[in-house]
Symmetry: C2
Subunit: 404 residues, 2 copies
């Protein structure tokens, strides 16, 4: 097993062609683990509470099942990683994943579900390429870093009108938006991962085609898909490992990609071949499928929302009840259930120590995004309640130790 | 463990919002395994010999290591699937993968190594977008299905000259190629997966920029990278699971992507951010990295080539020694070491039975590509010698049973 590989790495090298063959020790230390936490979280397998914004924590049950099946999936004699994507085993895996996703979101039949590659960042290009012609007007609502990036990329392909710009802490009032009369679509980001700003429901855009980047809150709450022309989400926040991006797109909107659209970004090509124009990101689809199945068994999106509200409340209450030691910069009406940025306004130097001490106790990845600083706790679906409880308890203790 | 998830799936549903919550049995049977082979291959863990053309067999040692580390990678307290790509743990993983790949191929310092998404099919677009301007001449050598697709996609972006077209069984003589005087590059496919046609060394293109799709023979043999401007390879043949595409590109060739290039396809953007402009396909990079490390410990590319020649010889000898029962359609001078198509010319109806019987004995995925029929054995680096030996023995027996 692992010993076999280690033993072989230690064997003497007789082959001269390989320059500087690494020793076993070199190979081992080159892939270095973070300093192990000095207190445990009490989680099984020595696992920490991982507040990373993405890639992010996955359900332990899903990881355990993937681990059990890794060498031989259900008697097939091979790993999911080794399966032909066109074989019946993988076909059953991707079909089940799609069926469970449709059930979770109650996706109407006239919408395609696509499993694409290249992240949300590829969708920033694919959306205007597929849904607008050169010079067409398209509206973008900018409420944070990701919607800003999406708008910037779209400028290559269409006439972008930024209809509203937020202040990174709130969402501009709907009646202040300058929507174009003739925009091919209105694009917004439902949850800004960096700023922690989240829409509470689909904005009303008067019947125009609505497009949402839901990368960091996908499947955290029920969504009325019928209000949207297209929803997209990178998997690596709430629903799986990196490598797959879900695109849910209404059928009448595809088929008009302009000639310069790369084949892999053409929604019609992807839909016609049910995401298998080429080899899809099979492992990521498989893990996402396990997550979808678990979510259905756990009560679907209403149950997920209830859990997420409960967890977020613990954290926002810890901030609110800190006598100003901690501050949440976001308008409470739109503060995210998924990403919670906060600061120590009286003494920003303490933020570094907060992050370091929390990490020592097994609460990791609490550093705020490099563009905003401070702290940020990402509390996606799979963050256990206990993780948020431990964090809140730590926050209280830290504040007590350091409050003036 | 697995029992926990199964038990929970069986729990009664009280939530009405989830339509038709699947029972545990439904979820289990919907993801169906192929009919289990009736004879075993003698491989550990009930594993078969998987001759799939891609995704394809991975080294058992690598899978075992990934399995052991799946819940908690080296004391980090999280899975590789859960790591922030910008954390030090994953940074060490991707750095080690790149370093090992550079060592294996002796990649000169003036080449970038990029870990991209979207498969080789995305590179079909990225190459002309990055390396040619609108209307520039580009030369394509078409020797099979993949080079044909690459040329077709490039027509969107440049003036494609198909300088040579093979007959799917051989490579046109170099002196018959009609290379353009002013082509920005010459593109060819080093190994055509479907036709089983493989170049034996870089073609001489008189100093022009040479670009190779090496998706299905990458790391199967030494390559002189300095002869190329760019080499690309989807991982899911020889080097990892689906989800990552390696691009090795000379530094002087990047930085001139035309304005319509999607940001995720821009080599300069990818190189400047060391493949982390956005979240890379972390798990696929990790597994590929384990494969690279193992290859270095096993003696690098010279050792790989020796093994591949040995395995291929067994198979081609089995065909040649069958008194015409089996036929290999490919010119022996260019027959692939990786993909071996063959037929039963006297009785094509027997091909279906051959495939079915082989599968029953644990040799699976021997069906030829749907566009060509017949059989095809893909014998990538990780196909054990024993697999090829068992296949050859089966071929002999089957021929003896059915020869007229």
């Amino acid at each position: 097993m692992v010993a076999a590989l280690s033993a072989r790495l230690a064997a003497p090298c007789t082959q001269s062609r390989v320059q500087q063959r690494p020793t076993r020790k070199q190979l081992a230390v080159r892939a270095v683990a973070a300093e192990a936490p000095s207190s445990t979280t009490g989680q099984p397998h020595g696992r920490v509470f991982n507040f990373s914004a993405g890639p992010a924590v996955l359900p332990l049950e899903v990881l355990e099942q993937a681990q059990a099946d890794l060498l031989n999936w259900r008697g097939s004699g091979m790993s999911v990683m080794e399966m032909s994507h066109r074989g019946k085993e993988f076909q059953s895996i991707i079909d089940a994943a799609e069926a469970d996703l449709r059930a979770l979101l109650s996706i109407p039949d006239n919408y395609h579900v696509l499993f694409m590659q290249g992240g949300a960042s590829t969708q920033f290009s694919a959306i205007p390429l597929n849904l607008a012609a050169d010079g067409d007007a398209v509206d973008y609502i900018v409420t944070g870093s990701w919607s800003k990036k999406a708008a910037g990329e779209a400028k290559k392909y269409a006439k972008v009108n930024v209809a509203a710009t937020g202040d990174n802490k709130s969402i501009p009032a709907r009646d202040s938006w300058n929507l174009s009369a003739d925009a091919k679509y209105v694009h917004y980001c439902d949850n800004e991962t960096i700023q922690g700003v989240e829409f509470k429901g689909a904005p009303d855009v008067g019947g125009k085609v609505l497009i949402a980047d839901m990368s960091s809150n996908f499947l955290s709450k029920p969504v009325d898909v019928s209000k949207y022309g297209l929803i997209y989400a990178g998997a690596q926040k709430n629903i799986g490992p990196a490598g797959v991006t879900i695109v849910i797109v209404r059928d009448d909107l595809i088929g008009n990609a302009r000639p310069i659209t790369p084949v892999m970004l053409d929604y019609k090509v992807q839909a016609d071949d049910k995401s298998m124009y080429n080899t899809p990101p099979c492992w990521s689809i498989y893990i996402a499928g396990l997550v979808f199945a678990k979510m259905r068994a756990d009560g679907g999106l209403a149950a997920a929302l209830a859990n997420n509200e409960k967890k977020a409340k613990i954290l926002y209450d810890a901030i609110a009840g800190s006598n100003g030691f901690y501050n949440s910069p976001v308008d409470p009406a739109v503060r995210s259930l998924m990403n919670v940025p906060f600061t120590i306004p009286s003494n920003p130097d303490l933020e570094k120590e907060f992050i370091a001490q929390a990490a020592k106790q097994g609460m990791i990845q609490l550093k705020g995004h490099r563009s905003v600083g401070g702290m940020r706790a990402s509390i996606y679906n799979s963050m256990p309640l206990e993780g948020v409880q431990q964090l809140a308890a730590f926050m209280q203790k830290f504040a007590a130790q350091h409050a003036k």
